[in-house]
């Protein structure tokens, strides 16, 4: 082949390749069969490869669901072990690359609606598509609704308490059946645990990746405060209650040196340390133990949980949140219904999917945790789910009895929560890394930023 011929061929091949590439990334293929029966939907939050048992269970569920509904095909997409890492989630929303049925936190409603990427599904949500719909708690439903319109389906909920490592409590001479109930008691216990040495933190806390702000909010609720004013337009933490939250942490970090050297911790950092037996206590939800076991190779036998500590007595509130799924704008009626039926099967039916406790029991997944508690107490679904849970419990349920039997009023996360959390990370990281950081100055700075962000959000 001459050079000229070669060039011609190369030019043609290049042009054809380019054309094909552009065509390949043009639009989503039409998932609905022309005949009108076949429906294909994409769903995210499939467990990652490293979560072998969870992935096997998910795939088995997909197969079983498709057998039950031969006209529906579920295409699973994995978006990481943490299904909603805020930057990734935002990027997917901004690019419109989320799946047809996509995972989100309860805090994401405003962001999802602002992006214009979710559709209203009110008319499709009923007992036909989700048989347990009437049993789902009103608070959980409210987190995915606005102005009486339903935009998403809650699939998990939680509230926070104090998780503690029983082994470390025993080693430090503390009573593992009587965890601290107030922050001064947490401080005393943390000192004793940290005295064990070997890099063990008596108490550990987040301060990066939005998790610092998340925990600041939880601890502020415990003090009786709220991060925003009642109308949601102004920050409301630059006050005595906010100062107490940071003072408690500052005292433990610097006066007692009971929080370890490593700070600027994000979600996986703290849980990795906890799984390695290097954390005595931390504020968290019961499912943090699930993550410790399934993501970070810890042992759930090590962990127990008490209620959220208060300042001088019982906590005045604790943070409640959760997760669920939205539906991408532009889906056909059949696709929405298929998505709802999948969620009903995988997430909202006692004995199936996430509530298949008989399957989870031998799989090193904690069964018997007090949450999620999605169903309204007294409802049939509530009874069924609890009976199955008790029958298959593989953890010592007594370890979580103090948390379950001493309920603290649940306060749900505010609107624009992730924005507020991102800003509050700054105050948390300052107090935990700089002994000379001024609590007043940090709260003022964060408060100004939150005011500005809320003004923008409410425009």
């Amino acid at each position: 082949m001459s050079v000229t011929q070669f060039r011609k061929v190369a030019t043609l091949a290049f042009a054809a390749g380019l054309g094909l590439s552009l065509a390949a990334c043009s639009t989503k293929d039409d998932s609905s069969d022309a005949a009108g029966d076949k429906v294909t939907i994409t769903v995210d939050c499939q467990p990652v490869g490293a979560q072998k048992e969870l992935l096997r269970d998910w795939n088995a569920d997909v197969e079983a669901f498709q057998k039950l509904h031969p006209n529906i095909t579920i295409k699973s997409v994995s978006v990481g072990a943490q299904c909603n890492n805020p930057p990734d989630f935002t990027a997917r929303l901004a690019g419109g690359t989320q799946t047809d049925v996509f995972y989100a936190y309860m805090t994401d409603l405003q962001q999802v609606l602002d992006s214009g990427q979710a559709m209203e599904i009110t008319q499709f949500v009923n007992k036909d598509t989700i048989p347990t719909w009437d049993s789902i708690s009103a608070e959980a439903k409210a987190a995915f609704s606005e102005g009486g319109k339903v935009y998403g389906i809650p699939t998990k909920n939680y509230s926070m308490g104090l998780l503690y490592n029983k082994n470390l409590f025993q080693q430090a001479g503390l009573d593992a059946k009587n965890p601290p109930k107030t922050w001064p008691e947490v401080r005393e216990a943390a000192k004793k645990i940290a005295a064990l040495g070997n890099g063990i933190a008596g108490y550990s806390e987040y301060s990066a990746g939005n998790t610092g702000g998340w925990h600041f909010t939880a601890e502020l609720f415990a003090q009786g405060g709220s991060p925003v004013s009642a109308d949601g337009k102004k920050a409301d933490f630059n006050n005595d209650l906010g100062k107490k939250v940071l003072q408690n942490l500052k005292d433990m970090r610097y006066a007692d040196n009971s929080m370890g050297e490593k700070q600027l911790l994000q979600w996986p950092d703290l849980l990795t340390n906890a799984a390695a037996g290097k954390v005595g206590m931390f504020v968290g939800a019961p499912d943090a133990t699930t993550a410790i076991v399934t993501n970070f190779q810890g042992k759930y036998q090590d962990w127990a949980m008490g209620p959220m500590p208060g300042q001088d007595g019982a906590a005045k509130g604790t943070l409640g949140g959760g997760e669920g799924y939205f539906f991408k704008k532009g889906l056909t009626d059949a696709e929405v219904k298929a998505g709802l039926m999948w969620l009903a099967y995988e997430k909202l039916t006692p004995g199936k999917g996430q509530f298949d406790y008989a399957r989870a029991k031998p799989e090193n997944q904690p069964v018997g945790l007090p949450q999620p508690q999605l169903f309204t107490p007294g409802s049939d679904a509530f009874k069924q789910e609890n009976e199955l849970k008790k029958a298959n419990a593989n953890i010592n349920v007594d370890d979580f009895a103090l948390f379950e039997n001493n309920p603290v009023p649940i306060k749900f996360e505010p609107a624009n929560a992730q924005t507020i959390y991102a800003i509050l990370d700054g105050a948390m990281s300052a107090i935990l890394t700089n002994p000379n950081a001024s609590i007043d100055a940090e709260l003022k700075k964060a408060s100004d930023k939150v005011d500005q962000a809320l003004a923008q959000a409410n425009k």
């Binding site: 930057p87 990027a91 901004a94 990427q117 924005t419 700054g426 990281s429």
Partner: protein, 312 residues
């Protein structure tokens, strides 16, 4: 002066090819050139120019409930009034200055030293280039978990302790965050710069050094009067590239400091863009800050280019 008129249709060039055939060949070549150019133009258009123009447009808009409206300079006002705005610029400028002192000078010095070696040059080049081959995230995680561990188990703290020097909190310290990021960044990136400087050094005629030696110039005088003037062009280009690159500081704060670090000590302009866009759900504000950064870097580059032309 005489004018020669040439009948092009009948002209036969030296190689004997008739002109018409040659013109057809040229035009065919031109078409092919354009065809090959389409790829590059499309790539630039899709991945550089379109996002840039889109970013500028988005910076003047706001999207609420899926509806986009024009808001004038609102996003710019908000971004400039963000308490972290000036901190981010100050941090970025500080990093750039530190990176110039360390990251610009060190590779040049290393290249001069390597150039003096008669043996093992290839081995040394591979050694210094090795970190460049590591994915940046992996290199930074190495620093984060092994070198900058704030306890005494950290590599740097262990060395300091061994030398009976005070240890540091590294990325958790408001004063050490920037120097620590510069050290990691220099280690990661200097390999490429060293190779470029080495190539430039090897192009300097040996006779210049011989003449300087005959004139009694020592090593420092040879560097000052021969090496630097002879590599001025590449030094000048690398200076501009380095400043533009360091002004876009992002991955170092993201990985080493988990974001903003202690009291915004690691917040760079690029990280602030990321924080607004992806953590605070403020893509419009992020776009506005991106445009501000584009303008600053554009003005700097134009000024620098003009200055360089004048000097030349």
């Amino acid at each position: 002066m005489t004018t020669v008129t040439v009948d092009r249709t009948t002209t036969v060039p030296r190689d004997g090819t008739p002109y018409r055939k040659r013109r057809a060949y040229r035009s065919q070549n031109g078409l092919m050139g354009w065809a090959f150019l389409i790829g590059a133009v499309l790539c630039f258009a899709l991945f550089s120019w379109y996002p840039m123009i889109r970013g500028i447009i988005v910076s003047f808009q706001r999207t609420r409930r899926g509806v986009t409206t024009w808001v004038g300079w609102d996003n710019y006002e908000r971004i400039v009034n963000d308490p972290s705005f000036w901190t981010a610029w100050k941090n970025t400028a500080y990093f750039t200055v530190l990176a110039l002192i360390l990251g610009y000078a060190v590779p040049f010095i290393v290249a001069i030293i390597f150039n003096e070696f008669r043996h093992a040059r290839g081995y040394l080049r591979a050694l210094v280039y090795l970190p460049v081959m590591l994915p940046p995230a992996s290199a930074l995680f190495l620093f984060k978990y092994y070198a900058y561990d704030p306890s005494e188990a950290g590599l740097f703290n262990a060395i300091l302790k061994f030398l009976h020097l005070p240890t540091s909190q590294w990325m958790q310290s408001t004063t050490m965050t920037m120097p620590a990021m510069v050290i990691a960044s220099t280690w990661m990136n200097m390999g490429g710069a060293v190779l470029i400087y080495l190539a430039a050094l090897q192009n300097i005629p040996g006779s210049l050094y011989e003449a300087a030696e005959l004139d009694g110039a020592g090593i420092f005088k040879r560097i000052r009067h021969v090496t630097i003037p002879q590599t001025k062009l590449i030094l000048s280009l690398m200076l501009m590239l380095q400043i533009v690159a360091t002004m876009q500081l992002f991955i170092e704060p993201l990985i080493l400091a988990n974001g903003a670090g202690s009291q915004d000590s690691a917040t760079s302009v690029a990280y602030l863009i990321y924080q607004h866009g992806f953590f605070q759900n403020d893509l419009n504000g992020a776009a506005a800050l991106g445009v501000i950064m584009l303008v600053v870097l554009g003005v700097f580059s134009a000024f620098y280019a003009r200055l360089s032309v004048k000097q030349d």
